[in-house]
Structure formats: C-alpha cells, structure tokens
C-alpha cells in the first residue's frame, strides 16, 4: 500500500524540451522522502505535477496514483500568502473548504489551534495579523498551518527553508519533523541542500537533469553512493570537506610537528 505512486512521469515543454524524464516514485503512508538536486533538475516540477499545478504549456505523461490528501508548502512565504488577507482568515478559509458545512467561528477556533501547533505564540492575537507584519519565519509557519488545515496525509515541501536565516531554518525543520511524527503524515521534502534534506528524511531520491539518478535509504546512500553524481554532491559538501581536511591536517601535523600558530 502506498499513499502516492508515480510511474513513468515525463514533463515536456511546448517546444519539445523534456524537463522531467521517466520518473518513478513511491511513498508509503507516514514515510519521509527527500528529493535533492540542482536548479533545473526537475524536483519542483515533479512536486507540482503531483498537485496538478504545472505551469502552462507543460504536458505530463505517465501515471500519478495518489489516494492520499496532499498539501504543499512553498519556498517563498512572502509571495505565497495573500497580502490582502489576515493570516488567520487565510488558514480559516482553507479549513472551511475541507470541512464543508462548518461555521466561520469553528474555522477560527481551528485556525487558532493550528497556529499553536506550528509554534506561533500569542496565536489568538496573531490571527488578525497581516502577512507584512510577520517575519519570514512566522510567515512560513502560517503557510504550514494553512497546509495542515487541509489535514493532509502527504505534505509536500518545496524548499520551505531556503529563503530563511539559518536559525529560523533550524526551527522550521524541527517543527516539520515534529508534525510528521505527531500526525503520522508522509512528507516529500525538496531542496538543493543535501544537509537540509538529510535532516528530515528517511529515504533519499537524487535528481539530475530531469532524471532520477539514485534512490534509497538515506543513511545507506550517504554511506555508499551508487551513482557518481551523488558522490560528487557529497564531495561538494563543505562540512564533509572540513572533516576530511582536519583529519589530514592532524595527520600532517603529527608527522611534521606544528607549522606555527595562526597570527591575529
């Protein structure tokens, strides 16, 4: 049983250029999958194809079987939020769409609860806030609350932390990890940053130029990448480079004694 299954998905632009080529993907209920790839690798388009919100002029072929309810969180919360709508109204409106027949008051109560769940303090006050009054991290929390209002079984995240400062990014990643565990949601998390993807995913899928080059259990792929492109991505990670360098320099220092201290 899988919540989402994609078979042979290809996306072709009007001028005949293939943007996504024969992608297979399966997501079990409650599973977290990370998709990593460079700009132009087709990772965001694949997510959009799942939701059926492809940009105009792109033709999709292949099968997407999705029995689960899905919702998406986008990269740039400033443009994803409606600037003329109060944050709480936006979340309440999404909630009402997915709970037909319920009153506006119920929706606002639900929105308050959702705000609390995504870690917005003074939730009841913040319902009345306009998007421009909120910080980048707060806006992204509102977007996540709006996505949760649809009670998704699969949460799709398209670079949700790329526009945020590193400390805010860490908070949002913690929040997503926590929500996925608490609601036993499945999640697909797309990013160009392997370290970010790795921090929230059990399984990893590596894309390049529209194709899936490698997929597998995260820890196994990181320990022994099968494809040379994955190996290249790992080698480009500065944290890894620093580690191997510090080992080298420690070894060389041991052999040749100190090279002199750093001058200030």
């Amino acid at each position: 049983m899988s919540a989402l299954k994609i078979k042979g998905l290809s996306l072709v632009r009007a001028d005949g250029v293939t943007l996504v080529d024969n992608v297979d993907l399966a997501l079990a209920p409650g599973e977290t999958l990370g998709i990593v790839g460079e700009s132009g690798s087709g990772k965001s388009l694949t997510l959009r194809a799942i939701l059926g919100i492809l940009p105009a002029g792109i033709t999709a072929t292949g099968e997407i079987a999705c029995t689960a309810r899905t919702a998406m969180v986008f990269q740039e919360p400033a443009t994803a939020l409606n600037p003329t709508m109060r944050a709480g109204d936006l979340v309440a409106r999404v909630w009402r769409r997915h709970h037909p027949g319920r009153s506006k008051a119920d929706a606002l109560t639900a929105a308050t609860e959702l705000f609390e769940q995504v870690g917005i303090d003074r939730a009841a006050d913040r319902l009345r806030a306009w998007p421009h009054e909120l910080s980048g991290g707060m806006r992204q929390r509102v977007m996540i609350a709006a996505a949760l209002a649809a009670e998704p079984e699969v949460l799709l995240c398209d670079e949700p932390t790329t526009a945020l400062d590193v400390r805010v990014q860490a908070q949002i990643l913690d929040l997503l990890r926590d929500l996925v565990a608490r609601r036993s949601m499945a999640m697909i998390f797309v990013s160009h940053d392997l370290a970010v993807v790795a921090s929230v995913s059990e399984r990893l899928l590596v894309m390049r130029r529209g194709e899936v080059v490698e997929t597998g259990v995260l820890t196994e792929v990181l320990a022994a990448p099968a494809h040379e492109y994955t190996a290249e991505l790992l080698a480009a990670n500065l944290g890894r480079r620093l580690k191997s360098e510090s080992r080298e320099s420690r070894e060389s220092r041991e052999s040749s004694e100190s090279l002199g201290s750093v001058t200030r």
């Binding site: 460079e38 700009s39 400062d165 590193v166 400390r167 990014q169 860490a170 990643l173 160009h192 940053d193 392997l194 370290a195 970010v196 790795a198 921090s199 995260l218 820890t219 990181l222 320990a223 290249e232 991505l233 790992l234 080698a235 480009a236 990670n237 500065l238 944290g239 890894r240 480079r241 620093l242 580690k243 750093v262 001058t263 200030r264």
Partner: protein, 260 residues
C-alpha cells in the same frame, strides 16, 4: 604582518530621525595583509553595509576607514578604487549583458591602464586562464554562460585590476553546490598565487571555516565575536555564535561526533 584595512568605530545609519535604522553600529575591525577574513551573520546584520562602506558606496556617520595606513574619504582616486574590488552575489545582474566577456575584461584593463594597449589582448587571455575558463568564452555574451562561469568572469574582472583587497559578498550563494565548491577552491587558489587579501561575506559558517583564517560574527550591526576560525568554531565565547553553529544543518558523518 601589518593591517591592510583598519575600520575604526564606524557607524552607518539609513533614514532620518525617528525612522533611522543603524545598520552598522560602532564597528572596529582590522584586516591583516594576505589574510582571509570571513564575516558571518543573518540577513540585516550589517555585514554587506560594512563592506559597502569600506568601498565608499555608503558614507559612514561616524568613524574612519584606513587602507594601507591612509584614511579614506568620500572621494577616492583611481588607484585606491582599483586596489579594492568586490564580487557580488548575483553574477547575472553584475555583468553587462551587451558586452562579450573579452570586451568586459579589456575595458577594465584600458580604463585603469593596467597594461600597455598592445598587451590588453594577451592579458585578457591570461585572466581567463587564471579563473580556469576556456579561451573561446572571450567571444561569448553573459546569457550564454552558466552561473558558475559568470561568477568566474566576475572574479576575473575584479582580478584584472590586480587588487590588494578582494571582497566576495555571498559570491557563491546563488550557485549550485558542486559549482560553489569549484568557485571556493578557485578563491583559495587565487589567494595563494596572487597574495590578495580576502574578505568573504557569507551566511554559511562552513564556507568561512573552509576558506578563511579569521571569522567575524555580526548581529544587529555589531560584531559579537571575532577570532581565529579554528578557535571560534571549537569554543565560541558568545552565545549567539554558539546558536548559529548549532543551527547549521550538517550531514550525518560530517561532524566528529556523527549525528544520529
């Protein structure tokens, strides 16, 4: 070692009176000749404003900037401007789209009379070689180039003037990770081969650890901590620095005490 750049008690603010925002607040920073300094901080911490002030693009409300021992005023001669060069974040918007790569580089050499007129052509070739770009690229216009190639052209353009100080402002943030690693290696190599003093502005702590020997942490326009990279990262003395280090995502297996 002597200080190439001395920033003393510099304050920069924007807006006036009630709406004034102090972007840089009484900052003092000395940069040694030949060193590589990394300035880290979140958006709005004042790191870019500080460097723009060094270049003379912003006027400080207070404090002074000395370069090679001489105080820099609002008006600067050609030689001073030539000695400090900056590479910006987005190479797509800093290169002239109408000019070929060759003519962009040649223009710099001619305006600043870096080499005699008959040597300009040959020097353009050398510069492309220096940043590991193929000679054919000389005839290409920016739209034909990849992001990494454009940033290499921007670096070549800065180096054309043989600057003593090269400031890279988030120079690799817009690049894909593999391309970024290539550009960082290029900067390290150029520092070793030309002896240029490097200041890197970045929000990426790993980048600073990788490329620099001194780290400066900025927050709300102030320097909260500075010191040798190895010491600062091993034992940050300021809680904010510690928070930044803890927040940076790491790959399992990339730190000594391997996560999870």
């Amino acid at each position: 070692m002597s200080a190439l750049l001395e920033i003393e008690n510099v304050t920069v603010s924007f807006g006036r009176r009630k709406h004034a925002i102090t972007a840089v607040d009484n900052v003092t920073l000395h940069v040694e000749k030949g060193s590589a300094t990394g300035i880290v901080g979140e958006s709005g911490s004042g790191k870019s404003t500080l460097m723009r002030t060094v270049l003379g693009l912003n006027r400080p409300q207070a404090g002074s900037v000395r370069f090679r021992g001489a105080e820099l005023g609002a008006r600067r001669d050609l030689a001073t401007r030539r000695a400090m060069q900056m590479v910006f974040q987005d190479p797509g918007t800093t290169l002239n789209p109408a000019r070929t790569v060759g003519s962009t580089l040649a223009e710099m050499l001619r305006v600043h009379r870096v080499v005699p007129a008959e040597r300009v052509d040959a020097r353009v070739g050398e510069l492309l070689d220096l940043v590991h770009l193929p000679a054919e690229i000389r005839e290409a216009r920016p739209h034909r180039l990849s992001g990494g190639q454009k940033q290499r052209v921007a670096i070549a353009r800065a180096l054309a003037l043989e600057p003593e100080l090269l400031i890279a402002d988030e120079a690799t943030s817009a690049l894909d990770v593999i391309v970024q690693a290539g550009v960082l290696d290029l900067l390290a190599e150029l520092r070793a081969s030309t002896g240029v003093t490097l200041i890197c502005i970045s929000h990426d702590l790993d980048l600073v650890r990788y490329l620099c020997d001194t780290a400066v942490v900025m927050r709300h326009g102030r320097i909260v901590e500075q010191g040798p990279v190895a010491e600062l990262f091993a034992a940050p003395s300021d809680p904010y620095t510690a928070e930044l280090i803890a927040a940076a995502p790491t790959l399992p297996g990339s730190t000594e005490e391997s996560v999870r």
